[in-house]
């Protein structure tokens, strides 16, 4: 075996440089080289590192995988992946708080137990253009088009990854994946063997305990169960008083993964939950004083069960069959609601044809909603059953081997509210070099009408009388069974690059063109003897567009230090010629910045700092038929963690440290504004066996 003589050539080169250059320049260059060299050593591809023999290797202690520059995604979409490591180091205590890591996502906490989460604008408690899936099960409620985040208080340690996709995902995921898709995947049961106990205590999280146990019970058969309970403190009012919105939630579940042979894998999983969440409501009333203050408690519970079978026919053909049942029940001061969903899905991947990679699928969903209440009632029968049939086909075509791909596809869906919906997309991916990718996309997506927009009768406000001439005016918001889908045509593009393995940039820009957005129309007032009834009816007369871009950058100067920068810019315009957008859309923050430093002080001590800036926003305030201004805010989280041994981690987390309290959002209706307080918590993670 012969070795090259590279070292001596390097020495020669150095000498000649010395001869030619001024000493101080050399000194300066030397410093730079030293720094670069140090970074390089930290990142070295040191040949010797792999050259130990196996006995020596078996004697070396394994240190955890260094924070890593993310893989350049191969998808022609604005995708951001949050890993388990990101979640752990964020110090976040809820799924919405974790989503603050992602670009283009606006996460705003409404009160002690509610969140508003949206992608690329249109935020609200009932943000309806973001589809959210947990292990392939949708948690987007078809009754009111939105997500009750407090009912998905997942065990964060069991999340494998969260894919955050901004922009339409309707071709694969179907209706309501308009502005984005959040895809939460839990860990494979084989990866959660043994036990885990976490306990948290603080002034916001007043106590949270989670226990998980997992084991292998036969060859290639793994299972885990978990239980979790969380108690959250109330937030405060602007005035400083308590907001009366504390809550507690319990949750439990299991996951079983079986793989009798490599050709077949089975997953079975299920969860149940219950929660009591306090809230203070201002509910309109026909009698004086025309508004009632109510100390209310949301009582919610539910369960779900999912089964999935993946069958590999050959290297080029794989089927996935999935079925689930999901039950959710929720009772609160203004309405009671029960949703039942049954869903079946078949997917087939065909990779056999030379330049084509095809995925097609069939879906059937049955859902039943039962909705009733005094303030929010329904027109007609309280119960409604709906069906959705769907088919999708996508072909990914290699145009130039290793360089250029084209993905064409569409979803075809038939639902009982708006009939047939076609949601196509075309995407192009160009690999400029191994470390650079460019993509473009155009797609259409729809947000299907919800139960609320179709047949709910909301008592919105009662305007007190002005004696002696003006009687009380009762304002009702009513659904319309002709209410149509909201439509989006989205134009997107992006560029990704990694530089020297330690810097990664991901840029995505978009222009979203919306039509048939929700608006409201005034019906003629009707005199009812004791009061005047003013009805406001949902219609689709608003159009608008948004544009903006998101940038995420990861820089890892050394193995022990990583920086993450995320910036999102958003501009939204509504065409109000035919309708008012009042009551429908607030104004999203124009700028959002998140800067995170993750630093390993030593092998077992971590110091993480997270700064976030959220620009001024306006939220819809349904009670006053106005918008409510939320000032820009800067917040900081700090986490200090110590691992005395590999089975124990102690962490101290401070959140929202920069001010005593600030508002992040208000709900569209019924509740009062609250402020999110500074908080500190202590967390233990322990693996007893």
């Amino acid at each position: 075996m012969s070795y090259s003589v590279k070292p001596s050539r390097f020495v020669t080169a150095k000498t000649s440089v010395l001869d030619a250059c001024d000493r101080s320049v050399v000194f300066g260059v030397g410093i730079v080289l030293l720094v670069v060299g140090w970074i390089d050593v930290a990142w070295s591809n040191d040949e010797n590192m792999v050259d130990f023999d196996i006995e020596a290797l078996m004697d070396i202690e394994v240190t955890s995988v260094s924070k890593q520059v993310r893989k350049l995604s191969d998808s022609a979409a604005a995708i951001f992946v949050i890993t388990q490591e990101d979640i752990r180091r964020s110090g976040a205590t809820s799924v919405p708080d974790v989503l603050r890591l992602a670009p283009g996502i606006n996460v705003a906490r409404i009160d002690g137990n509610k969140w508003a989460v949206s992608a690329r604008g249109f935020n609200g408690r009932f943000a309806n253009k973001l589809l959210v899936l947990v292990d392939g099960r949708t948690v987007y409620s078809p009754a009111f088009s939105g997500v009750y985040w407090e009912a998905s208080d997942l065990m964060l340690e069991d999340i494998e990854r969260i894919e955050v996709i901004r922009g339409p995902g309707a071709t694969l995921w179907g209706a309501n994946a308009v502005n984005g898709v959040i895809n939460i995947s839990s860990r494979h049961a084989a990866d959660t063997q043994g036990s885990l106990v976490t306990a948290m205590l603080g002034d916001e999280i007043q106590g949270a305990v989670a226990v998980r146990a997992g084991r292998r019970f036969a060859e290639n058969s793994y299972a885990r169960i978990y239980l979790k309970t969380t108690e959250r403190d109330e937030t405060e009012r602007e005035s400083g008083g308590d907001a009366g919105d504390e809550g507690d939630a319990q949750r439990g579940g299991f996951r079983v993964d079986l793989q009798p042979s490599y050709k077949n894998t089975f997953t079975f999983q299920g969860d149940f939950y219950r929660g009591n969440f306090d809230q203070q409501l201002l509910l309109p009333d026909l009698a004086p004083p025309f508004v009632n203050f109510l100390n209310d408690t949301v009582e919610t519970d539910g369960w779900n069960f999912l089964g999935r079978w993946r069958h590999t026919q050959s290297a080029d053909s794989e089927f996935t069959l999935q079925a689930y049942y999901d039950f959710n029940n929720r009772n609160e001061g203004f309405a009671d609601q029960t949703d039942k969903t049954m869903d079946f899905e078949l997917q087939h991947l065909i990779a056999g044809w030379d330049k084509h990679h095809v995925i097609w699928g069939l879906g059937y969903r049955y859902f039943e909603t039962d909705f009733n209440g005094n303030v929010a009632a329904v027109l007609g029968d309280t119960r409604r059953d709906d069906e959705v049939f769907s088919f999708f086909l996508q072909d990914e075509i290699t145009l130039v081997s290793d360089r250029l791909w084209l993905a064409l596809g569409s979803k075809f869906e038939r639902n009982d509210y708006t009939g047939t919906e076609i949601q196509p997309s075309v995407r192009l991916m160009w690999s400029l070099a191994d470390n650079q990718k460019l993509w473009l996309g155009a797609s259409r997506a729809v947000r299907v009408a919800s139960r609320v927009e179709h047949d709910v009768d909301f008592l919105q406000t009662v305007v007190p009388p002005v004696p002696p001439f003006i009687p009380p005016v009762v304002v009702r918001l009513i659904g319309d069974d002709g209410y149509d889908s909201e439509q989006l045509i989205a134009w997107e593009g992006g560029y990704r690059v990694t530089v020297a393995g330690s810097l990664m940039l991901d840029f995505a820009a978009f222009y979203n063109d919306y039509d048939d957005l929700r608006s409201v129309g005034l019906e003629p007032p009707v005199f009812m003897g004791t009061h005047v009834q003013q009805s406001i009816r949902f219609n689709n007369k608003l159009s608008g567009d948004t544009h903006g871009f998101e940038l995420s950058a990861v820089w890892q100067p050394t193995e022990t230090w990583r920086w993450d920068l995320v910036y999102g810019y958003l501009e939204q315009n509504f065409d109000t010629r035919n309708a008012t957008d009042k009551l429908q859309n607030g104004e999203a923050p124009r700028h959002q910045v998140s800067l995170r430093s993750q630093y390993d002080l030593t092998n077992n001590v971590e110091l993480d700092v997270w700064l976030r800036y959220t620009d001024q926003a306006h939220a819809v305030d349904g009670r006053n038929e106005s918008v409510y201004q939320i000032d820009a805010y800067l917040s900081a989280d700090v986490r200090l963690a110590w691992r005395p041994n590999k089975n124990l981690e102690l962490a101290l987390v401070g959140q929202n440290l920069l001010d005593p309290a600030h508002p992040e959002y208000i709900e569209e209706s019924f509740t009062l504004p609250t402020e999110i307080e500074r908080s500190v918590s202590f967390k233990i993670m322990w693996r007893p066996w």
């Binding site: 140090w38 050593v41 930290a42 591809n45 040191d46 040949e47 590192m49 792999v50 050259d51 130990f52 023999d53 196996i54 006995e55 290797l57 078996m58 004697d59 070396i60 202690e61 394994v62 240190t63 955890s64 995988v65 260094s66 890593q68 520059v69 993310r70 893989k71 350049l72 494979h188 084989a190 990866d191 063997q193 292998r216 060859e219 290639n220 793994y222 793989q259 042979s261 490599y262 050709k263 077949n264 894998t265 993946r310 069958h311 590999t312 026919q313 050959s314 290297a315 080029d316 794989e318 990779a351 081997s401 290793d402 990694t498 393995g501 193995e559 092998n603 590999k646």
Partner: protein
């Protein structure tokens, strides 16, 4: 005084980084180092190489940082065959690899991978529970903060790959 201490500290730091025999090593690098050893202590049927100097293809299915950790292998060779590291396994067709390393994150692709390589002479190395049960030859895992491995001989035989007795002796667990 302070600057002296700082200089000393920096020197120690740099020195330690550059020269010391590591007591500890980051997991991905260890995986790469183990993989090189496994390749050296295994024997492939001669027909897998087109010529005496044909490359030995190591294919990595996993994250970028893992692929990065495998890069030093490209300076090495297995016998007379220089190592080539490939990361886009599906584009290159897995059948063309002599060795495939599968990261835990790619578990979902196992079905199609094993269907593609079936009985071909490909040494499959993984780092996830159940890897050998599904058809993999060697699986790496951590025990008492040291990396150890298990071997499935029947899967090795099916792939027509001979593992040296030294390797089998060191394995935590050998399944016949």
């Amino acid at each position: 005084m302070l600057s002296k201490r700082l200089t000393f500290f920096l020197l120690v730091l740099c020195g330690a980084k550059a020269y010391a025999q590591p007591q500890a090593m980051e997991a991905h690098r260890l995986l790469a180092a183990f993989t090189l050893n496994f390749a050296r202590f295994s024997e492939w049927p001669a027909r897998v190489y087109a010529s005496n100097h044909a490359p030995f293809r190591v294919c990595v299915m996993g994250e970028e940082s893992l692929a990065h950790a495998f890069q030093p292998l490209t300076k090495k060779s297995i016998g007379s065959h220089p190592i080539e590291v490939q990361t886009s396994v599906w584009l290159e067709r897995p059948q063309n690899c002599q060795l495939i390393f599968v990261q835990r994150t790619e578990r979902e692709a196992l079905g199609r991978l094993f269907a593609a390589i079936a009985d071909l002479p490909v040494l499959t190395i993984g780092e996830m529970p159940g890897f050998t049960d599904t058809g993999g030859v060697i699986n790496l895992f951590t025990e008492h903060e040291r990396m150890v491995f298990e071997v499935d001989l029947s899967n090795a035989r099916r792939a027509n790959i001979k593992l040296s007795s030294r390797l089998l002796k060191l394995a935590e667990h050998v399944k016949e």
